[in-house]
Amino acid sequence: MHIPDGYLSPSTCATLYAFAATGWYSALKRIKRMLATRAIPLISVLAAFSFVVMMFNVPLPGGTTGHAVGVTVAAIVLGPWGSILAISIALAIQALFFGDGGITTLGANCFNMAVVGSFVACGVYRLAAARSGIRSRRRVLAAAIAGYVSINAAAFVTALEFGIQPTLFHDGSGTPLYAPYPLHVAVPAMMLGHLTLAGLAEAVISAGMVSYLQRADLGLLGEAGNLATGSAPIPAMVNNGRSLRRLWWAVALLLVCTPIGILAAGTAWGEWSSADLMNAKTRAQIEAASGNHAPPVSVPTGLQKLSTVWTAPFPGYAPRFIKSPAFGYSLSAMFGAGLLVVVSLTARVIGRRPNARNPRP
């Protein structure tokens, strides 16, 4: 999954450096705040650990072997922010010192494996482990699932990056200038190896290590982030009231601003319905918005068929029982935002770690 130089265009590399830099900046800020002077040696040594684990040849069922990234264990023990830094530093050493992965693609590699991998691993582990006891077998299973899903999520993002290259970067004769395969080739090709070998290797090493730590070093599986001293709380678990309050204000402000959306005229490009394709006025708008390319004469069969599968309760952000479009639009926004808040609060309750019922030794 280590992308070498030359597979991605300069603009893709720059964009992914920017994405990764956002993760590095936030992670460094949070880790320094939580661990203060302890952060540098802790992250450095754990980055070295991640580096070494990446070299392990993990025996897999079927007699073959594979390499793990170690991102799941890092995310479970350090939390997502610590994991982002440790894995990124390990990847930087691999690229700069051992030539494994490119320099221009370092941002992409860090984004895929460190940022996406850490967050997916942490989220899936917490969701799957739920409130289970710290010695529970469910945690071993949760680590395996988190390992498998996180590596495949990282591989999927990598495949998307490869897959968009020929569409976006080709010369006049249609020759792809960077990674040559489109999405329909890049995604299955990339996922095949990760759904079988690499995902399994990460699952095996994550589950095996959690199982080992349950017997030998339970402290590392406790409230993550306590690993160094038993005192420092995990950055991701800290309930920072001030930040939350700011977030609520931002959400409220966005809700107040929702009627601005009504000012946008027409339908968003590519979001046309069957009715839009049949209507002469909207057909003219589609043609104008598509560089004077006329839309198909009849509604494509697939679109026609699928358009009846699901009917939204608030089609077009306009509930049928409300006559004023502006009020309906605002109400839809409030409903949507409220639904998201409820879902995230539910996920938080489900994913909350075991508390006093499962005390650490």
Binding site: P4, D5, G6, Y7, S9, P10, L28, T37, R38, I40, P41, S44, V45, L46, A47, A48, F49, V52, V53, M55, F56, N57, V58, P59, L60, G63, T65, G70, V77, L85, I89, I93, L96, F97, F98, G99, G102, I103, T104, S173, G174, T175, P176, L177, Y178, P180, Y181, V185, V204, I205, A207, G208, M209, Y212, L213, A216, D217, L220, L227, A228
Partner: protein, 272 residues
């Protein structure tokens, strides 16, 4: 899979890492063209050339850049055999394999047909595969050349002078140092496990051995970080990181920097 091949291949990976590090250290201390230049010039110069390789869209310009890189390698006393085994053959095997189907999958003007398979190679497919392989070969050679001709500590100092945060540079330096310590520790654990193994280990046991070793290594890493932290505190560390910057630019460094930027800029312009 032979009974302990997973241990042996892991041990081989460890040995390979040590060998690469030793080779880099040896070459970096040889007198040569790149070694004569200030490390900052080497880092900026090589980075400029890598970026120009990525920007280039013309095969002949990228080939010219590869030739320039080879000439720099010869002038810097880097063995071409080691470059071939460490970079060129590895890239050719990996990227070549990835690029191969592009010859047939990319639609375009047919150049020739493989009679046995009835597959036609398109001009566009041939060009995209060549572009990919040549670009990856050139960029990887440049990066390897930088690593082979510059001690790691100098690369880090150069990165610091390029405004990389001091904390990040310190973490990179410490990680690099402890990578080798942890490799040595893991190496000893695997060797001792292998020396005690009698008969064939079943697959599940092999997985347990790997997971246990990784688990013990994690516990040792945490302990090590405690010890390093205490050692840092005992030396008066209070969160601020200071790095010495004793590099001095001379006339030849300015000339080298100008040459790198000119070559990189020219290649990027010609290869548009």
């Amino acid at each position: 899979m032979s009974q302990h091949s997973f241990i042996e291949s892991t041990l081989q990976a460890f040995t390979g890492a040590f060998s690469k590090a030793l080779q880099s250290e040896h070459t970096a201390n040889q007198p040569g063209l790149l070694q004569l230049l200030d490390p900052r010039v080497r880092v900026i110069g090589m980075l400029a050339l890598v970026v120009s390789v990525i920007i280039c869209r013309r095969l002949d310009v990228i080939a010219a850049l590869l030739l320039t890189t080879v000439l720099i390698a010869v002038a810097s006393r880097v063995s071409l055999v080691s470059l071939a085994t460490r970079v060129w053959f590895v890239i050719l095997g990996f990227t070549g394999l990835i690029a191969l189907p592009a010859l047939f999958l990319i639609p375009g003007t047919p150049v020739f047909v493989l009679p046995a398979l009835r597959l036609s190679v398109s001009a566009q497919g041939l060009r995209t595969a060549s572009l990919l392989v040549l670009r990856v070969e050139t960029a990887a050679t440049l990066t390897t050349l930088l690593v082979l001709c510059t001690p790691w500590t100098h690369i880090l100092k150069a990165l610091r002078s390029l405004r990389l945060p001091a904390e990040v540079v310190t973490m990179l330096a410490m990680t690099h140092r402890y990578v080798f310590l942890l490799i040595e520790t893991a190496n000893q654990m695997f060797e001792s496990r292998q020396s005690r193994a009698v008969g064939k280990l079943p697959g599940s046991e092999q997985r347990k051995v790997t997971a246990r070793t990784a688990g013990v290594l994690l516990s040792k890493s945490i302990e090590l970080s405690h010890e390093v932290y205490l050692a840092m505190l005992s030396r008066g560390f209070h969160g601020e990181v200071y790095l010495l910057n004793d590099f001095r630019m001379r006339l030849r460094d300015y000339l080298g920097l100008t040459a790198f930027i000119c070559v990189g800029g020219l290649a990027a312009w010609m290869g548009r």
